[in-house]
Amino acid sequence: MVARMVELVLEKEAEFSALDAAVGDGDFGASLAKGFSKLREEWEELPKEDMGAFLKACGLLIGEECGGASGPLWGGAFRAAAKAAKDKEALGVEDLALLLDQAVLSIQKTGKAEAGDKTMVDALLPAVKSLVQDAQAHLPLEEALKNAAAAAMEGAEATRDMVAKRGRASYLGERTVGHPDPGAMAVGILLQGVYEHRKTAESKRFTDEL
């Protein structure tokens, strides 16, 4: 899952930066890529025995390597997810919902963004909501992932009509209307990518492929 995210972040660097150029300073892709390419570099050394340790190591690397706002936000999110994952070996829909929920909470704690502030939070909250519902409905993981990705994408698209209130985009105020938030789009694209990868992947156990 994280492996697929790494690939995607590196693949989409230019696209993410271009989104940021419209409402911010155009470095979002580069900032994310810096941390995630470090993940790839140090992949072999990352502890893979348990999910919590793995996610924590990822969070530390991201926090240290990603510049700008993305380092603390994404790093913190991974570390919060790590805590929630503890030493889990396999993840069900419910576990995943909890992980993502803790991640959003951490982001909101650090960045103080509410729903509607036009940030990545606007993609994450719907994804969490969708996962929680699907857990209650006992949907299979693949389907739940699909729904979560769709919800994130929808949330990200909805940021298009919002006025940015947080981060660098907030300086542009009304002028951000018409452009989606880069962080939210990234969340949507990454979740979508993870779902698609899983759909085609052989293994269905989550921790088999970190």
């Binding site: 230019a14 930066s17 271009a18 150029a21 409402v23 911010g24 300073d25 155009g26 470095d27 892709g29 580069a30 900032s31 810096k34 926090g63 240290e64 390597e65 990603c66 510049g67 700008g68 706002a69 993305s70 380092g71 603390p72 936000l73 650090t110 960045g111 209130k165 947080r166 981060g167 660098r168 985009a169 907030s170 300086y171 542009l172 105020g173 002028r175």
Partner: protein
């Protein structure tokens, strides 16, 4: 992209190296954590640590030296340094009087500097305080947003706090006077062209030959409005009016003025801007104590300028006039 660089990913490190090679008896670089410190830090004064994304040269490392900063932490272009970088800089310039962080009010910078401060306080018992510069009047201030950003006025905060620290003031006093400077400094800027972030290789925004972005920051983010490029006198009038109205500055006030170039604008044009700005201040009954004209807080190769006013009182005046010996700001 036309730049005198090697590879985009090497820009920051090579710039830092080129800088310490230019001033080897004044500056030292930690190449791993990319911060630049005074060659001989003084552990008996409050340490001042600033920095942020790169691309604002001479800010911030150009202000490291006697009477100003002790360390400047260099993030990637326009990206705050990580909290680890800031943390290492705090430790490297640790002083018995504590450390003041001068942070420009951006989401990324605040999160990373605050994270570093927490680590240094909790893990190493360093006495760390922070001030957040938010001088840009182009951005509406609000509790419900990220608030105003810090731009060229930061240089005045460095100078004021730096002078106080050099005089041996203690941490609360240095912090208080830095906050006073923050509360009295206002800036506004405009851009004639976009800058080009090396890693992206294309201008951050497109802009027509006859247009400008009014109310820009220092990261290539577009301003508050796209307008027809106005003559220098009109630009000065609008900027000065916006600044005066904001604090507000009043008749009889004394100010320091900074006419700042954004990187691609030559000094010639900054002086033309100052020609009018200075008349307007006189007309408004504002006394100009001192004027600085030049590239102090830039946005890569962006053509454009900003005007900053700092409202002075006796204390600030004394600190502003105190000697400083850095590579980008020097006065006897």
């Amino acid at each position: 992209m036309k730049k005198i660089i090697n590879k985009p990913e090497q820009v920051v490190l090579e710039m830092c190296q080129g800088m310490v090679k230019a001033y080897p008896d004044k500056l030292a670089l930690d190449p791993k954590y990319r911060f630049i410190t005074r060659k001989d830090p003084n552990p008996r004064k409050v340490s001042l640590v600033s920095g942020g994304g790169s691309g604002h040269e001479p800010a911030h490392a150009g202000y490291v030296g006697t009477g100003m900063l002790d360390a400047a932490v260099c993030g990637d272009v326009f990206a705050s340094p990580s909290s680890t970088q800031v943390y290492k800089a705090i430790l490297a310039t640790r002083s018995e009087k504590g450390t003041l962080l001068i942070v420009k009010n951006y989401t990324g910078d605040c999160m990373n500097f605050d994270g570093a401060a927490e680590m240094a306080r909790e893990d190493d018992d360093v006495d760390v305080e922070s001030v957040y510069v938010n001088d840009d009047v182009a951005v509406k201030d609000s509790l419900y947003t990220a608030g105003r950003r810090g731009v060229a006025g930061t240089v005045f905060v460095h100078k004021i706090a730096g002078a106080a620290a050099e005089l041996g003031w203690d941490l609360p006093a240095v912090k208080a006077v830095a906050e006073k400077a923050v509360s009295r400094v206002r800036s506004i800027g405009f851009a004639l062209t976009s800058c080009t972030v090396p890693a992206r290789g294309v201008p951050t925004f497109d802009i027509g030959e006859g247009d400008m972005e009014y109310g820009v920051g220092i990261h290539g983010e577009p301003g508050i409005s796209r307008e027809a490029l106005a003559p220098a006198d009109e630009l000065a009038s609008r900027a000065v009016a916006a600044l005066l109205a904001d604090l507000p500055f009043r008749k009889g006030d004394e100010v320091a003025v900074l006419v700042n170039g954004l990187g691609g604008t030559p000094l010639q044009e900054l002086f033309i801007l100052n020609n009018k700005a200075s008349d307007l201040l006189a007309e408004a009954g504002i006394g100009i104590h001192k004027t600085f004209v030049g590239n102090h807080m830039t946005s890569l190769d962006m053509a454009g300028a900003s005007i900053t006013l700092l409202q002075l009182d006796g204390e600030l005046k004394g600190l502003l006039d105190a000697p400083a010996d850095t590579t980008a700001f020097r006065q006897a």
